[in-house]
């Protein structure tokens, strides 16, 4: 992906869900453009379609109409499999919870994206440990996730989302489950890593404080994004 110019482009995106007989319109023709390296917060009430939006940007789901371009690639033109491979290579994800595979150790969880993208040489291990060090959890490399606190789990999740150096990081309420202090630590870890790698980042959050630390705030309102 190129450094300059728009990294993400949404043009007149519509998305609705069938709910029994009636359809529920979640996105009603929204457009937005996000530059490479930009750090964007998305705010909006629960149920407004924030997660839906992230799913569309990551190619997990497809819009009913409209175009979504990520790094110049039109996701709508890719097959399901190609979208998955695209996601594997270019996108990192952090969710509110259930981020880690419970049956893999912390280190193995970090190695997984590297293995998936085929970079399983000796450097993978170094890279994973490097990220662990960056989130200050080197000591827990061999532990299983259920031994970690919620904040620690989220920091590991962040490390894992960035270990394969994606161009884009999507975070869906990464601190939604944490208390304020822990949340702050997690956000600091996130900022530090993103800054180091120059990654484009979109964070969905309810926290005004977290939103305030981003370059730009978008609000999702009645199915459309507008500058906040």
């Amino acid at each position: 992906m190129n450094d300059r110019g728009p990294s993400i482009e949404l043009i007149d995106v519509h998305k609705s869900y069938e709910e029994g007989e009636r359809t529920h319109e979640v996105l009603t023709g929204t457009s937005v453009s996000i530059r490479a390296g930009e750090r964007v917060a998305i705010l909006g009430p629960s149920g407004s379609g924030k997660s839906t939006l992230l799913n569309l940007i990551s190619g997990i789901d497809l819009p009913d109409s409209g175009t979504i371009r990520v790094g110049g690639t039109d996701l709508g033109a890719l097959t399901e499999r190609d979208r998955t491979l695209f996601r594997r290579d270019h996108i990192g994800f952090v969710f509110q919870f259930f981020n880690l595979l419970p049956t893999l150790t912390v280190l193995e969880n970090l190695l997984l994206p590297l293995e998936l993208t085929g970079s399983t040489n000796g450097r993978a291990d170094d890279r994973a440990r490097e990220l662990l060090a960056a989130v200050e959890l080197e000591a827990r490399a061999g532990a299983f996730p259920d031994r970690l606190s919620g904040g620690e789990q989220q920091r590991i999740a962040i490390a894992r989302a960035l270990v394969h150096e994606p161009d884009l990081l999507l975070a869906d309420e990464p601190t939604g489950n944490l208390d304020q202090d822990t949340g702050t630590r997690v956000v600091e870890a996130l900022e530090a890593l993103v800054a180091a790698q120059g990654t484009t980042m979109i964070v969905v959050t309810h926290s005004r404080e977290l939103a305030g630390r981003m370059d730009r705030i978008l609000e999702l309102d009645h199915g459309r994004l507008r500058e906040g």
Partner: protein, 848 residues
């Protein structure tokens, strides 16, 4: 190792109980399939080896439809046709008090003709001096294994009972077969000289057959033609293969039925796998969704789940083969006994551990596992990567699927009915139709469950308040996970009901038939090797003594012969009936008194239902029989219900028989007693009349009846065992699925505990819910079971055996079904309830 593989291995080892149950499911399925295959194979191998050993290098045989040929035919063959490679054979069965529980196969041969045929007789490696057999008329030669078992050595005399006659024959030699095969083939053979065998078998002047060796070239074909031209009426030439095929063909339907039953166990095993894999996918729904978000492709997820299933399949199959060998040891005895009871005498030396059968069972097991794991694997691949793959969405989708599944199920049932109505006697077609219907019914169950639960919800609400409502709603709300378990339980129970009703109806029909057929007070026959079939010839003087008994007021005689015509076996019977015995027949159509009047007059024959069914005949058609004076076509004047032989029976009056055949013999006797006579005492009197050295079996009406039912019950023993095994597989599956479901609700239940529900209330909630599922399954299984039994009774059984059965649905079978399902489901709730009530709500809430 790849990380994903590592993750899934760790998942499996963390859920040991689940893993164990799925492995068990595969193992049981494989074990049942393998053991039935092994049992059938071993019986067939036993039969084949002894047939091959006995026929040696024979290529063709001269046999008569009448069962034996005149020994003068041998001269025709040797002198007129100049065929030197020919040997006379007399065959029959005997028992010996020193070899209890064994049927000895008497093989009467001419040692000087044996050169080209049976190497073990013709000296050489076995070192048998043929002259030994000639020195004493009734001398017998035993294989070493039998001699040892009976504790007899050369020079001793061997006690033997042949067709009721006691003999004491000198053991003139012992042979030690050179190889394993010959040893197995000769394991039940007692060799005698032709003349000796003719004497003990009372076949003087007759031969069972003449063995020939004809080369497979032009000269050979010319010889065959010459022979065919010179044969008297009623004698035919057959190749050896055809003969043993006819014999093993007799047990064809029996084999297919057992195999189908064993496949059923495998299908239940598949339900277990399906349950376990579905459950493992459901449990990991979030994680699989995360993996998809990380960029793991659908293919990779499918591969991951299928690889897990593959390992389960492989381990299960290996375990199953071990259990299968063990099971086979038990089953082979049952199968062999049934064959001996119903078809022909066979001795099985051991289990024929044929590698092909192991391969087949393993491939079936692993294949079934993968097949069962495929739907959940595909479902896993579709796992919504978004975290909000909320259960309510999933359950909502499941609810949409319920009516669709019911629709597909109905279509499958319709297809099944369509397949069943194809007019064919092919059993594979019937079972295919049946399996369509079973699968269809399984798909209808979730809808049925919803309807049932909705129906009892108000009642539960009134009895248990909110708790009851919650339990009822919980069943519907968790349908995506409970549906397979419910379907498995319903199918298992309905198959149990179906088989139960079928066996009950069969037995009921048999009892009714026996009541109608067994008119005489005392039945007399000779001891023989096959329980359900009298054979041999009674001594005229004994018959005279018996009918002369002061309390005997009348009698019927019965002459039965097992014949083969056009490659199909059947029984020919000649009857001389006491007027009291005439009402014994129940005809499919026509007036019984008219038919019996024509029967007495010798206007034709009556044939049993299986006989006409197998040959596609009906009343008014004719049957061609080889008689003493050539082929004779006889009209079928009536078709009667008969459950004594699946091969079929043709009966004619004794007077007609005497006109057609030169055979004054009588096989068995039915005696009618004076009013008020005590049949037990008369039986005692009669047995006292039997001269020493002779044995007959005289039984009262009641004894014969219960002996017949005993044979019936023995026949269905294998079915009963399989029914039980299949049920155990399904039961374990349901138990595990429901228990796992409740355990998985730990978080939800913890919440209830936290909000003030007592452990007792919680237990009631869980048990009510699983109990509801059980009740629904039991109730649904009843109509489905009855539907299945209708198919089994009127299609499968009819096609297998040609028998019309009266359907009989006893309440106990139905209550048993509902009870079993209910108990199973409640049990499935008890463990999780107990476990939940012991864990602190805080712990449960922490969840994953």
């Amino acid at each position: 190792m790849r990380l994903l593989t590592k993750a899934s291995l760790r998942y499996l080892t963390h859920h040991r109980l689940q893993l164990l149950l799925s492995v068990l499911g595969v193992a049981l399925g494989v074990a049942v399939v393998l053991s039935i295959d092994l049992a059938i194979q071993s019986a067939q191998t036993g039969f084949r080896i002894s047939a091959e050993t006995v026929s040696g290098r024979t290529t063709h045989v001269l046999v008569s439809d009448l069962g034996s040929v005149d020994e003068r035919l041998l001269n025709t063959v040797r002198i007129d046709l100049d065929i030197t490679a020919s040997a006379p054979v007399v065959e029959g069965f005997a028992t010996s008090s020193v070899l209890p529980g064994r049927a000895l196969r008497i093989l009467g041969i001419d040692p000087f003709s044996e050169g080209p045929f049976r190497p073990y007789v013709a000296g050489g490696s076995t070192g048998l001096d043929v002259s030994e057999l000639m020195t004493t008329r009734t001398g017998v030669v035993l294989p070493a294994s039998l001699a040892e078992e009976g504790g007899v050595s050369v020079g001793d005399s061997l006690p033997m009972v042949v067709e009721g006659e006691a003999w004491s024959v000198p053991l003139v030699a012992i042979i030690e077969p050179a190889d394993e095969l010959a040893r197995a083939g000769l394991a039940d053979v007692a060799l005698m000289d032709v003349a000796g065998a003719q004497e003990v078998l009372r076949m003087v002047g007759r031969l069972s057959r003449i063995d020939l060796r004809i080369s497979d070239d032009e000269a050979g074909s010319a010889e065959l033609e010459a022979i065919a031209g010179a044969l008297p009426d009623g004698v035919g030439i057959e190749s050896v293969g055809t003969r043993s095929e006819t014999m093993s063909g007799m047990i064809g339907a029996f084999d297919v039925n057992l195999t189908a039953l064993s496949l059923l166990a495998l299908i239940f095993g598949m339900f277990l796998i399906y349950n376990a894999v579905t459950f493992s996918v459901v449990q990991r729904r979030e994680i699989l969704g995360r993996l998809r978000a990380l960029g793991v492709t659908r293919d990779e997820i499918v591969r991951l789940i299928l690889t897990e299933a593959l390992w389960i399949g492989i381990v299960g199959a290996l375990l199953g083969t071990l259990v299968g060998i063990f099971l086979a040891r038990g089953l082979v005895g049952m199968v062999t006994r049934t064959i001996n009871d119903l078809y022909f005498s066979v001795s099985v030396q051991g289990i024929d551990l044929r590698p092909f059968l192991f391969a087949k069972a393993c491939v079936l097991g692993v294949g079934a596992t993968l097949l069962a794991a495929l739907p959940p694997a595909l479902e896993a691949a579709g796992a919504n990567p978004r975290m909000a793959a909320l259960r309510s969405v999933v359950e909502g989708r499941a609810r949409v699927l319920v009516p669709r599944a019911a629709l597909v199920g109905s279509i499958l049932c319709a297809v099944g009915i369509g397949v069943l109505s194809i007019p064919t006697r092919n059993l594979v077609v019937s079972f295919t139709g049946l399996f369509f219907i079973i699968t269809g019914l399984a798909l209808i169950t979730p809808a049925g469950t919803l309807v049932l639960v909705a129906a009892v919800r108000p009642l539960l609400g009134r009895v248990w308040g909110t708790l009851g409502l919650m339990a009822a709603r919980g069943v519907g709300a968790s349908l995506s996970r409970t549906a397979p378990a419910i379907a498995a339980l319903v199918v298992a129970v309905s198959v149990t009901v179906g088989l139960g009703v079928m066996i009950q109806s069969f037995r009921g029909t048999l009892v009714q038939w026996l009541d109608g057929t067994l008119r005489a007070d005392v039945y007399v026959s000779l001891p023989g090797p096959t329980a359900s079939r009298a054979a041999g010839t009674m001594w005229p003087e004994v018959i005279e003594d018996f009918v002369g008994h002061p309390e005997v007021s009348g009698y019927s005689t019965y002459r039965g012969m097992d014949l083969v015509r056009d490659g199909e076996a059947f029984r020919l019977v000649a009857l001389e009936l006491d007027p009291r015995g005439e009402g014994a027949f129940d005809f499919l159509e026509g007036s019984s008194s008219d038919i019996m009047a024509r029967f007495r007059a010798g206007e034709g024959v009556i044939a049993s239902e299986p006989y006409v069914f197998r040959r596609g005949l009906e009343r008014g058609d004719s049957v061609t029989l080889s008689t003493a004076s050539g082929d004779r076509a006889l009209r079928i004047i009536g078709v009667f219900y008969d459950y004594g032989s699946e091969q079929g029976t043709v009966m004619m009056s004794r007077s007609l028989y005497d006109r057609l055949f030169d055979d004054p013999g009588v096989t068995s006797l039915g005696l009618f007693l004076e009013e008020g006579a005590d049949s037990e005492r008369v039986v005692g009197d009669l047995l006292a009349l039997v001269p020493p050295g002779r044995a007959v079996i005289a039984r009262t009406n009641d004894t014969l009846r219960s002996a017949s039912l005993e044979v019936f019950d023995r026949t269905f023993q294998v079915t009963a065992v399989l029914r039980l095994l299949a049920f155990v597989v399904a039961f374990v599956g349901v138990l595990s699925a429901l228990a796992a479901l409740q355990l998985e609700r730990a978080r939800e239940l913890g919440l209830l505990r936290a909000s003030g529900m007592t452990p007792g209330q919680l237990a009631r909630l869980v048990v009510t819910q699983t109990g509801l599922i059980g009740l629904a399954a039991g109730v649904l299984a009843v109509p489905m079971g009855i539907a299945l039994s209708i198919v089994m009774i009127f299609v499968v059984n009819k096609r297998s055996f040609g028998w019309t059965l009266n359907m009989e649905v006893g309440p106990e079978v139905l209550l048993q079904a509902v009870g079993l399902a209910l108990v199973g489901a409640i049990l499935a709730g008890v463990y999780p309830a107990w476990k939940m009530s012991r864990t602190s709500p805080a712990l449960a809430l922490r969840g994953e």
